[in-house]
Amino acid sequence: MKTKYLLPVVCAAAALFAAGCGTTVNSVENAQKDGRRTMVSDQRVISDTGLNHRVGVVGVNTAMTAGGLLRVQVELLNETRSLHRFSYKFEWFDVNGMQVENILSASSTDQIEGRESKMITSIAPNPGCKDFRLKLISAD
C-alpha cells in the first residue's frame, strides 16, 4: 500500500528535480576564428573544489590597450547542469609586487548557467600594473 503511493511521489520529485536542474546552455560560434587569443600560463589555488566544478577557470588571455594598459580575460565554465551565482574580484600589482587598489578591484557578482562558458574581464588600473590575481567565491 505504501509503495503504491511512494513510487509516484518519488517519480514526480525526480522529474521535478531533473526539470529544475536541467536548464543548460546551447551555443554556436564560427569555427574558423579570425581572432587569436594570447593565452598566459597561470597558477591556481583551489580551496573550494565544489566551486571549481561550478565556476571553473578554463584559461586566461591578455591583451594590451593602445594606451598601454593590460587587459585580462578569464574564461569560466560551469560543468554542472544548474545555474550558479558567484562573486569575483581582480587584484592588481605593480612592478614591485605592491597591490594597487581602486574601484577596478571592487567585488562584482555574476551568475553562470549550467554548462555555460563565460568570460569575465578586467583592465589594469595604470600602465605600471602588469600582474593580477582573480579571486572567485561562491554566492549561493
Binding site: G67, L69, I103, S107, S108, P125
Partner: protein
C-alpha cells in the same frame, strides 16, 4: 523524568537560537559576503559595480588617449537622477574620477572654490590666462525600472555614462551598466 530532561534542553536550544540570531555590530568591507541586497534602492555596492564597469569600459576604449596634450582634462558634469530616491552623484562620479586620475590617463578639472580662487589670482598677477578648457565632460543618467509579479519585485537600475567632446559636440564614449535585483524582500548576502 521526561520533563526534567526536556526543560533544560529546550532552554539551551532557545538560548542558542537567540545567540545565533543576534548580530553584534562589526565593520564590514564593501562587496563582502554580508552585503545587504536592498531591493528598492541603490546601495554602495551598486555604485561600486557601476563605477567599475564604466572605468573598465572607458579605459579599454582608448577615448582618453586621443587628445593632443595627454593626460586628458575631464570635467565632471551632471548625472541625471531618474529614480525614486535621492542620489548623491559623487558616489558614482568620484569613484570614476579617482580611478581615471590614478590611471594617469586623465586629470579632473578643479571644482574646489578655494583652489579656483587661487588660480584666478595667479592668472591676474601673472597676466596670463592659464585656464585650460576641458577636453571632455563626463555626464550620465541613472534610470530605475520596476517590474512586479505577485509579491516578487524586480528593480533594475541603468547607469548610463557618456564622455562628451565639447569642441566637436559629440559623445566619444558611451556605456551602460544594468544592475537588477529581484525578490520579495531585501536580504543579506550576494
Amino acid at each position: 523524568m521526561k520533563t526534567k530532561i526536556i526543560v533544560p534542553l529546550v532552554t539551551a536550544a532557545a538560548a542558542a537560537l537567540f545567540t545565533g540570531c543576534a548580530t553584534d555590530a562589526h565593520y564590514v568591507q564593501t562587496g563582502d559576503r554580508e552585503q545587504i541586497v536592498s531591493l528598492g534602492q541603490i546601495n554602495i555596492q551598486d555604485y561600486a559595480n557601476a563605477a567599475n564597469a564604466a572605468v573598465k569600459d572607458l579605459l579599454a576604449s582608448g577615448a582618453l588617449d586621443r587628445v593632443a596634450n595627454p593626460p586628458a582634462l575631464v570635467e565632471v558634469s551632471k548625472v541625471i537622477n531618474n529614480t525614486s530616491q535621492l542620489v548623491d552623484q559623487d558616489l558614482l562620479t568620484q569613484k570614476i574620477g579617482i580611478a581615471l586620475t590614478q590611471s594617469g590617463k586623465a586629470q579632473i578639472k578643479l571644482v574646489d572654490k578655494l583652489g579656483k580662487g587661487y588660480q584666478q589670482e595667479n592668472e591676474f598677477l601673472s597676466d596670463q590666462k592659464a585656464t585650460r578648457l576641458p577636453d571632455f565632460t563626463l555626464s550620465g543618467k541613472i534610470i530605475e525600472t520596476v517590474d512586479r509579479a505577485g509579491n516578487t519585485r524586480r528593480t533594475t537600475y541603468s547607469f548610463q555614462m557618456a564622455l562628451n567632446d565639447p569642441k566637436a559636440g559629440v559623445q566619444v564614449w558611451m556605456s551602460e551598466k544594468e544592475i537588477g535585483k529581484q525578490g520579495t524582500r531585501s536580504s543579506v548576502g550576494f
